[in-house]
């Protein structure tokens, strides 16, 4: 839309009237080309280059070397780090754990947040208190969340096992049983982060025009019918966005697992980011850790592209 504006000579003192109208037509907000833009951009570009572009390039280079944390020298080793990572069963199991976590956390995080948002949206009294209750955990630092849940999950005097005990049920090794641990982490994550999706849904629900409901009511649609034929269809694009954001967030899981189980028991909860951390900062192999980072990055890009392709197909 702005191509017309490029024809105007830069810094011309009086822009000819014709060009000025063309400028307006081209969106109205373009002014003749000047160098000031760079001054506005300079500080951002400085940090952007230093802490984003450069580490990406540098990391890519590192991934092709045997750079280690303990020695200064490093040699170019081609794609051997990638080959090693891709044939390492530990890499695959941590990737598998991550994908498993993504599925078992994303589904409840989308469903529960919608239920919460829908109930609060319907105008029940005490809005403020519901919103606060559902959103407050999102504001807690991860170590506070894991301290609380680590305590709740404690085997002998934890609240959850204590309640099971009182109910006459047997205790569960919430974090020590490798069949259960990942589910416990997903539960913690649901409690901690559902507030964010809840707010996204809440604001989307508020954008549904009342008259749609009124019309449906006149047509005799009951409340369930209105939920399924108006609310849910109107929420389609929001749900798509929330699923994408949620999947990307869940794929990046590290903090809560690292603090609750350190990836145990028996590596059952080790995530791909922890694999990167372990090989880089515990095993000192920075080059290898970089290579794994890029494999993970490829996965993230793949998920984003798949979602974009999906969204496009639905549109047409």
């Amino acid at each position: 839309m702005t191509t017309t504006a490029t024809n105007i000579p830069a810094d011309s003192p009086g822009v000819p009237p014709v060009a000025a109208t063309r400028l307006k037509a081209a969106g109205g907000r373009q002014r003749p080309a000047s160098k000031t833009g760079y001054w506005f951009l300079a500080p951002y570009l400085f940090f952007f280059g230093l802490f984003l572009v450069w580490p990406i390039i540098y990391g890519l280079w590192m991934s092709l070397t045997n750079r280690s944390l303990v020695t200064e020298r490093s040699e170019f080793t081609g794609f051997s780090n990638y080959a090693e990572a891709l044939s390492d069963p530990q890499m695959w199991s941590s990737l598998g754990n991550t994908l498993f976590f993504t599925v078992i956390s994303s589904v409840p995080l989308v469903v529960v947040s919608f239920v919460m948002a829908y109930l609060v949206y319907t105008g029940l009294k005490g809005q403020w208190i519901w919103r606060l209750t559902f959103f407050a955990p999102f504001l807690l630092p991860v170590s506070v969340v894991t301290a609380i849940w680590g305590f709740l999950f404690t085997n002998d005097f934890g609240l959850i096992n204590g309640l099971l005990d009182r109910a006459g049920l047997s205790q569960v090794g919430w974090l020590s049983d490798d069949q259960v641990a990942m589910w416990s982490i997903a539960l913690v994550t649901l409690w901690w982060t559902v507030g964010f999706n809840f707010l996204l849904y809440l604001s989307a629900l508020q954008n549904i025009p009342d008259h749609l409901y009124e019309a449906a009511q006149l047509d005799g649609a009951g409340s369930w019918r209105r939920l399924f034929s108006i609310t849910l269809p109107m929420m389609k694009s929001t749900t798509g966005l929330i699923i994408l954001l949620q999947a990307l967030a869940s794929l990046k899981v590290f903090d809560q697992i690292f603090l609750l189980t350190q990836g145990g028991p028996n590596g059952a909860t080790r995530s791909i980011l922890q694999y990167i951390y372990d090989s880089g900062f515990i095993g000192y192999r920075l080059g290898y850790a970089s290579a794994t980072s890029y494999i993970f990055f490829a996965l993230i890009v793949l998920v984003s592209l798949a979602q974009m392709w999906f969204a496009k197909r639905k549109d047409s």
């Binding site: 907000r29 000047s34 000031t36 833009g37 506005f40 500080p43 951002y44 802490f51 580490p55 990406i56 990391g59 590192m62 750079r67 529960v112 919460m116 105008g123 029940l124 009294k125 809005q127 208190i129 919103r131 606060l132 209750t133 955990p137 807690l140 630092p141 991860v142 170590s143 506070v144 301290a147 609380i148 305590f151 709740l152 404690t154 609240l159 204590g162 994550t189 409690w191 982060t193 707010l199 996204l200 604001s203 508020q206 009342d210 009124e214 409340s223 954001l245 990307l248 967030a249 903090d255 980011l273 990167i276 951390y277 880089g280 900062f281 920075l286 980072s293 890029y294 993970f296 993230i300």
Partner: protein, 319 residues
Amino acid sequence: MATATAPAATPAAPTAPGGSPADGRARARAQKKREAEHLRSLTLGPGRKGRVAAYLVVAVLAALWALPLAWAVLSSFKAEADVSAAPLKFWPDSGWTAEAYRSVLAAGDIPLWIWNSVLVSTIVTVITVTISALAAYAFSRQKFRGRKWLFGLTVAAIMVPPQILIVPLFDQMIALRLSDTLLGVALPQVVMPLMVIVMKNFFDQIPVELEEAARLDGAGDFRVFFAVVLPLSRSIITAVSIFVFISAWNNFLWPFIVTNSPEIMTIPVGLGTVKNAYGVQYASEMASAMIGALPLLIVFMLFQRHIIRGFATSGMGGQ
């Protein structure tokens, strides 16, 4: 965007001539109530049954969500012996006590970590908001070579998870002699392409005529930006600032990687990694957790509306 009862949430409808502010408030309240009632009948149906069921579900959910925090608060006011008693005791034998808080605060690390977090989050917020606002204005209103290309790069950068950069960044921090310093914790966090895009979208919607008037008076680009655009952008600046502050405050992985000494740690890192030397003491741990949670909860209470609106409208976030 406001709250669920959208129109009424714009605070206090204008008072009718002659009416006192109290009348206006009462009317606004009544109006809000009517609208809530209307919405309720539209979504849940006119009957009582749907409403009661909805209250029931929301109350159960809220109780489940409040329970962990409530239990942590209660436990932090118990004596150690009562907290680690098996079978579980709901009411402490030796009464309620603030002993855990006293011992945690006396140990001294936590106030220091909070102070570090305040410093780091403030540095990150000031730098991020400043550089992002300037850049967003350039992308929105200025014409220069490479603009499309640079903005495209910024949009693409959203896809880059900061977590994959920790390895090269760590090496870079050692080279810059910033590892294990507060600046080393803060600086790599200031690049947030999403904030640039959110602010650009906002600037795009400010009518350009407002700036042209100032320009006719001879104001230069920077003058226009600071005197005209920024004052109009208070809402987005507040939302972005709060968002950046919260994410910097709660960031764990990067500060955890780059710090080593306990006196440089931020609150999430310190609380998460430095354990009590005498084995786990749950009352103390819960007291530490509550102290660690308090600053942001206070910020939230103060800025509730801004935070919720900011989070909800911009679709930013992450864990």
